[in-house]
């Protein structure tokens, strides 16, 4: 009998596991995939290491900062700041056809850019900041509400509204078109007020630290152990049945599988509403270059581009991918420690919005062909905003909503989960709880904090 069974060995599940095991619970983490990490996993292909989800760790604060999610999670998990080896970004850009806004870690550069490129909006931006700082992320009643409404009340230039929404929606909005104001505030703080960073060795360093800690505390981790169903007796979860037929008993169950996906596993529910699942999924086109990107004139960490004055955040309506907007990231363009040297390869990663339904029904040979086709289109779209690097590409890889679904098990390969969040982590069963994406936190730091806070709230106190 386990004290807590955790479904999913992503960031949130591992963090929850560490908390519970640290306080002497008997904990087992079950992972369907053959490796850990979920959306933030990694893989090796053609002799090279790749990250799945990671462009940047958001919520970066420097060593010694005592406030903010990063400081909080380090304390809660008893890690040192150095354990995550985070190197800050060089600098990032929001690129629209006629205007570019540069920003770095902390608000200073963004404020200066807005003052110079949108001088009439300078005061309005300060008013917006006040609203964002006043937002209490522990008060769940304020989470909903239209961000577009709040922004248009404050900022009178629609172009600036679109430019501010673009990176924040890209990095954490499960809802199409608009964004919950609470989610906007959380994303604004994590990206514009805190910032971007990356460990030299990518996400595997963070995962390795989490797993090592979890195991050293006596936690059990079972890979290739998909949960076939959650057993329910007398209105309570009593354990899980694995795909292999093996049964495990647990006093509590913590699931990072997603809201719809978790409910569907419960044997007392005959039909979970798939309409609730998220729709926003992506492709990622990865190019390996023969030299570091800065040697061909690309020195930004991340570029969020959009090719018109209005930004459309929606599932593509008539094609596999939407070429109007995307995110370009180079893992080379971080301020790594000199002792680390350079990454072995120059890398440029480009994300586009994709239609999971269309990708999922392609026959195998067509799937391969479409990947090649959309890789070319994606790069062609992106080089409208950054130097054309196509002559320097020595290897490529591309992943699609199908890949994301395989790593996360989320319906539709929905990267940020379902639009309706379950902030308190509760479900229809009194001892089954949600952590991770659908509990409301996104990003690497966010999902770790989610695991911690749900473990604290529901699994530790009795």
């Amino acid at each position: 009998m386990y004290d807590t069974i955790i479904i999913g060995a992503g960031m949130s599940g591992l963090a929850a596991g560490i908390r519970l095991a640290h306080f002497d619970q008997r904990v087992c983490i079950l992972e369907r995939h053959y490796t850990i990490g979920g959306l933030n996993s990694f893989y090796r292909l053609g002799g090279r290491d790749y990250d799945v989800g990671l462009h940047a760790v958001t919520n970066f604060t420097p060593k010694g900062a005592k406030k903010g999610p990063l400081a909080r999670l380090l304390r809660q998990l008893r890690f040192k700041w150095e354990d995550f080896a985070l190197a800050p970004q060089v600098g990032s850009t929001i690129a629209f056809p006629d205007v570019q806004l540069h920003f770095g870690n902390g608000l200073e550069l963004l404020e200066a850019e807005i003052a110079s490129k949108f001088p009439a909006q300078k005061d309005a931006f300060q008013q917006l900041l006040t609203k964002i700082i006043d937002y209490d992320d522990l008060d769940e009643d304020n989470f909903g509400g239209s961000t577009r409404e709040v922004l248009s009340e404050t900022i009178s230039d629609p172009l600036l509204v679109e430019m501010l929404l673009c990176p924040l929606m890209w990095y954490g909005n499960a809802r199409e078109h608009d964004m919950d104001f609470g989610q906007f505030c959380i994303m604004f703080r994590s990206i514009f007020m805190e910032g971007f960073a990356r460990p030299f060795n990518g996400v595997r360093l963070i995962l390795k630290n989490l797993v090592r800690r979890f195991r050293s505390l006596g936690g059990e981790l079972k890979l290739r152990s998909g949960v076939e169903r959650i057993k329910v007796e007398d209105g309570k979860a009593v354990g899980v049945v694995l795909d292999s037929g093996e049964e495990l008993e647990g006093r509590k169950i913590l699931s990072s599988a997603g809201l719809v996906e978790t409910i569907r596993l419960c044997e007392d529910i005959t039909e979970a509403d798939p309409q609730q699942a998220g729709q926003m999924s992506f492709t990622e086109s990865i190019s390996i270059l023969d030299k570091p990107p800065k040697q061909i004139g690309f020195d930004r960490t991340i570029v969020f581009y959009n090719d018109s004055d209005s930004f459309h955040w929606e599932k593509p309506s008539d094609s596999l991918c939407d070429m109007r907007t995307g995110v370009i990231c180079s893992p080379n363009n971080y301020l790594y420690d000199e002792s680390d040297g350079d990454l072995p390869d120059g890398v440029i990663r480009i994300t586009t919005i994709a239609d999971s339904d269309r990708w999922s029904v392609l026959p195998e040979d067509e799937y391969k062909l479409e990947k090649l086709r959309w890789y070319d289109r994606t790069i062609a779209s992106a080089v409208r905003f950054i130097p054309d690097f196509r002559g320097h590409v020595v290897d490529t890889d591309m992943f699609t909503p199908n890949t994301i679904r395989r790593f996360t098990w989320h319906d539709n390969g929905a990267v940020y989960g379902a639009p309706e969040k379950r902030l308190d982590g509760t479900t229809h069963l009194p001892n089954l709880f949600l952590c991770g994406t659908d509990q409301g936190f996104v990003g690497i730091i966010g999902s770790i904090v989610s695991g911690i806070s749900i473990a604290n709230q529901h699994c530790l106190r009795d």
Binding site: F23, K66, A71, R75, Q76, W81, S453, L460, R461
Partner: protein, 86 residues
């Protein structure tokens, strides 16, 4: 454990929870919250560490007793006086 032992033990827990804080300057009569950057998650940790290390249960309605070092030691003295110092 004497009140002095309990104070040492609380310092040890705080060091664990907030390794970057300078605890040498801690004033016993002033609330932790005013001197250290502790949030509600950290307060839960003090309670949890007491339970883990000494099997001392602090019920939720008593969390307020842990506001400062002085009030914490006062509150814990009767609960921990029969425990052996580790």
């Amino acid at each position: 454990m004497t009140p002095a032992d309990i104070r040492d033990e609380i310092l040890d827990i705080l060091e664990d929870i907030a390794p970057d804080e300078d605890l040498g300057e801690l004033k016993d009569e002033v609330a932790f919250r005013e001197q250290l950057e502790l949030d509600s998650m950290d307060f839960l940790d003090i309670v949890m560490e007491l339970r883990k290390r000494h099997r001392v249960q602090v019920p939720e309605e008593d969390y307020g007793e842990l506001a400062s070092m002085h009030s914490t030691v006062t509150y814990l003295t009767p609960l921990m006086k029969d425990l052996q110092k580790a």
